[in-house]
Symmetry: C3
Subunit: 146 residues, 3 copies
C-alpha cells in the first residue's frame, strides 16, 4: 500500500505541504505584527510581553489584515486537502493534475501577498483563479465517485 507512490498523490502532497508552510509563515507574521504594535487579544499576553494592558484595545490594522488573510486560507486551503486528495485518487492525467495543483497553490500564495499589501483587483483575481482550480478538482472528483 503505497499511496505516496501514486504520481498524482505525490504532486498533490507536495503542493499541499507548500501551502501549509505558507499558512505557518502567515501565523508567524501575525504574531510579529501583534508584538510590534503591542496589540494582543488576551490580557495575560500583555504581562507576558512586559507591557501594561491599555483600558481599551483598538484593533491594529496590520494584525487584522493578517488575520483576515489567514481566515481566507482556512476557508480555501483546508477544504483543498480533501478535494485535492479525492481528485488525485480519481486517476486524472498527470499533466492536468500538475496544472490545477500548481495553479491553486500559486494563486493562493499570490492571494496572501495581495491581501497583505492591500492590492486590488490582484487579490480578487488570485482568489478567483484558486476557486476555478478547486472547482475543477471538485467536478472531476464528483464525476468519479458518482
Amino acid at each position: 500500500m503505497d499511496l505516496l507512490g501514486i504520481p498524482t498523490v505525490r504532486v498533490f502532497a507536495f503542493w499541499y505541504l507548500v501551502l501549509v508552510i505558507k499558512m505557518l509563515v502567515l501565523i508567524f507574521r501575525t504574531s510579529v505584527a501583534r508584538m510590534r504594535s503591542g496589540t494582543f487579544s488576551s490580557p495575560e499576553d500583555y504581562a507576558s510581553a512586559g507591557l501594561e494592558r491599555p483600558a481599551t484595545v483598538a484593533p491594529n490594522e496590520d494584525v487584522e489584515r493578517a488575520r483576515r488573510a489567514l481566515q481566507n486560507d482556512l476557508e480555501s486551503i483546508l477544504p483543498f486537502f480533501g478535494v485535492g486528495l479525492i481528485y488525485a485518487l480519481s486517476d486524472p492525467s498527470l499533466t492536468m493534475a500538475r496544472i490545477v495543483f500548481a495553479g491553486f497553490a500559486v494563486a493562493r500564495i499570490a492571494h496572501t501577498v495581495a491581501y497583505l499589501r492591500g492590492l486590488q483587483p490582484h487579490r480578487s483575481i488570485a482568489f478567483g483563479v484558486a476557486m476555478l482550480c478547486l472547482a475543477w478538482m471538485l467536478v472531476v472528483g464528483l464525476w468519479t465517485v458518482l
Copy 2:
C-alpha cells in the same frame, strides 16, 4: 491501490464534496451580501467596488450572519474530512456508513439554511444531528484504531 474503489470511501467522498460545494455557495453568498450592502473589511475593497470608504463601517447583519454560518462550517465540516475518512476505512457496514454520511451532510445543509433564515430551534436541532453522526464515526474510528 484504489482507495476510491472501496464502497464506503466512495460514499464518503461523495458527501464530503457535496458539503464543500455547500461551503463554496456560502462563501459566494457572503461576497454578494458584502457587495449589496457595501460592507467590506478592507479599505482597498471600497475603491475596487467604486465606493468611497465611510469613516466608520457598521457591520452588516446579513454579512455577519453568513460569516457565522461559515465559521460553524469550518468547525464541523473540516474535522469531518478526517473523521469520516478514518471511519470509512474502518470497515463499517455500507448501510450504516450511508446513513451517517448522508445524515451528517443533510443536517449540515439544514444548519446553513436555518442559520441564514434565523430559524430556531431548527438550527440547534440540525447542529445536534450532525454532531451525533460525527460522534458515531468518531467512536467507531477510535474503536478500530485502538
Copy 3:
C-alpha cells in the same frame, strides 16, 4: 487496501481523533459559556433561550476566550490532518512517529487548558512545541515527496 493496517497511520488516526474530541469539548464549553452568561451572537438565540435581547450585546470574556482557543485549533489541528497523514505515509520509524504525534496532541491539549485558564508563558510554550512537531512532520513529508 488496508490503510489503517499501516502502524504509523493507525497511531496518527488515534491522535487525530483524540484532538477532534478535544475540539468538540471546546465547542460544547463555548455553548455552555454562552448560555450561562446569556451572550449569543444571533438575535433568534435569545428567544430560543427564553431571554430578551439586550439593545447592545457586550462580548463575554469567557465566550471570547473559548472562541479564540477554538480558532487557534482550526489553524493548527486542521492542517495537522493533512500533514500528519502525509508524514505517516512517508515510512517514518514507528518510534519517531509515536513521539511527534503524541507530542503534537499533548501540546495542543495543554495549549487549550492554558488558554482557558489564561496561563502564560505555558500557552506559548505549548503552541511552540506543537509547531515544532508539525514542522518536523512537514519537513520529513516534503523530503519524501520531492
